[in-house]
């Protein structure tokens, strides 16, 4: 039955070459932990992707309860964590997952750096990777405010103050992020928009470019 459905679609759209290209590509021995245990360092990139999938999924589900409004944000987080079944786990996935994503990105960056994998011809993919790193830090910064608890508010105030010290355009950056002259209702709404729509869109675009380039260039050879 499944085979027939597949054949029906394949006859019309010729989808076989699309996935066979991915499925059949050869994975060299030096990145395979089954042959060299030290090759586990090559897993960090894949694990980063895995944690990002966890972040996107758990984040999507969190917005079913979360309200980006200063009067309700904290209460909605308190409710989803303490009253909703498995709330602790889903929020925990997003909270701890954020930290682990940062750790994995950091380790992956170090692996690429120390194996010299960013050298010609892979310079462009390194650039995209570093931009991904910055986007992920941005996601961490904007996500920290959303529960609207004490540490969220005051850490964000300090963070925005740092942005303000930027020469010439600091005031604008701060005001643009803050949306108001205080960290308040408009800041929370803005951070929510940035955290949930703008940065993830950027993240997905950059990730697509990252993976396409890896597929195009293959994995760098052994040292």
């Amino acid at each position: 039955m499944l085979q027939k459905v597949y054949d029906y679609i394949d006859e019309r759209l010729d989808i076989t070459p699309l996935w066979r290209d991915l499925a059949d590509h050869e994975v060299p021995e030096h990145v395979n932990p089954a042959y060299h245990f030290s090759a586990f360092v090559y897993c960090f990139g894949g694990l980063t992707f895995f944690t990002i999938v966890i972040q996107i999924l758990s984040g999507m589900f969190l917005t079913m309860y979360y309200v980006p409004d200063i009067n309700n944000a904290w209460d909605s987080v308190y409710y989803l964590q303490n009253q909703v079944a498995y709330g602790q786990i889903v929020r925990g996935m997003h909270h701890w997952g954020a930290s682990i994503t940062i750790v994995m990105v950091f380790l992956h960056t170090l692996r690429v750096f120390f194996t010299g994998a960013y050298k010609k011809p892979r310079e462009l993919n390194w650039i995209v990777g570093v931009l991904l790193f910055f986007v992920i830090l941005g996601l961490g910064f904007t996500g920290y405010l959303l529960p609207w608890d004490m540490k969220a508010l005051f850490a964000t105030k300090v963070g925005l103050q740092i942005a303000e010290s930027f020469p010439f355009i600091g005031d604008w950056i701060k005001l643009l992020l803050q949306g108001s002259d205080i960290v308040g209702a408009q800041t929370l709404a803005r951070f929510f928009a940035i955290h949930v729509f703008f940065l993830p869109a950027l993240l997905m675009g950059l990730m697509a470019a990252h993976f396409l380039m890896i597929r195009r260039q293959g994995i760098s050879g052994p040292l």
Binding site: I70, F154, K157, V158, Q161, I162, W172, L175, L176, Q178, G179, S180, D181, I182, G184, A185, Q186
Partner: protein
């Protein structure tokens, strides 16, 4: 028809037109959205009213922490913003009202809470310190003195207004 005078080919012309129309569509879509996003940058600031805080006769030479609230509009959110002021009389009898917002990174300083440095304002974040007059002590992180509130005295009451930064020193 010579190609030297008309060296734009049909294909080039169509490509330029394509870019032009594409640019128009991008601009048409983005202009309202960008203006929408940067609205906070272009808003005029409204001056606040002065608020009655305390009786002048109660002001001592020791800084007193006073909270007062001003009406604040943050977009759709209207509320009373709580402000804190440290109010005292200087040695020459002049009244001073300091804002406890640290000029380093915006934490809140408190008066005389650090046993190692009595009679100073002290910031818990990065250890910034200020003298009683709110002057930042050299060698600590803050780059400028504490802001002072605009004030006026009317009928024996002290009224406070907006914070005025005092610039780097």
């Amino acid at each position: 028809m010579s190609n030297k005078e008309h060296d734009v080919t049909r294909r080039q012309f169509l490509n330029y037109t394509l870019m032009g129309v594409g640019g128009f569509m991008a601009a048409g879509l983005l202009t309202p959205m960008v203006r929408f996003a940067i609205d906070p940058l272009l808003r005029e600031e409204k001056g606040g009213k002065m608020v009655d805080v305390m009786a002048v006769k109660d002001i001592t030479t020791e800084p007193q922490r006073k909270t007062f609230s001003i009406d604040k509009v943050d977009g759709w959110h209207k509320f009373k913003e709580q402000k804190i002021a440290y109010i005292f009389k200087k040695d020459n009898g002049e009244i001073m009202a300091l804002s406890p917002v640290c000029t380093h990174l915006g934490c809140t300083v408190s008066w005389n809470d650090d046993p190692a440095h009595p009679n100073q304002f002290h910031c818990p974040c990065h250890g910034g310190r200020y003298t009683k007059d709110g002057i930042n002590i050299p060698g600590t992180p803050p780059p400028a003195p504490l802001s002072v509130y605009e004030m006026k005295v009317k009928d024996g009451r002290l009224y406070l207004g907006a914070e005025k930064p005092r610039g780097g020193a």
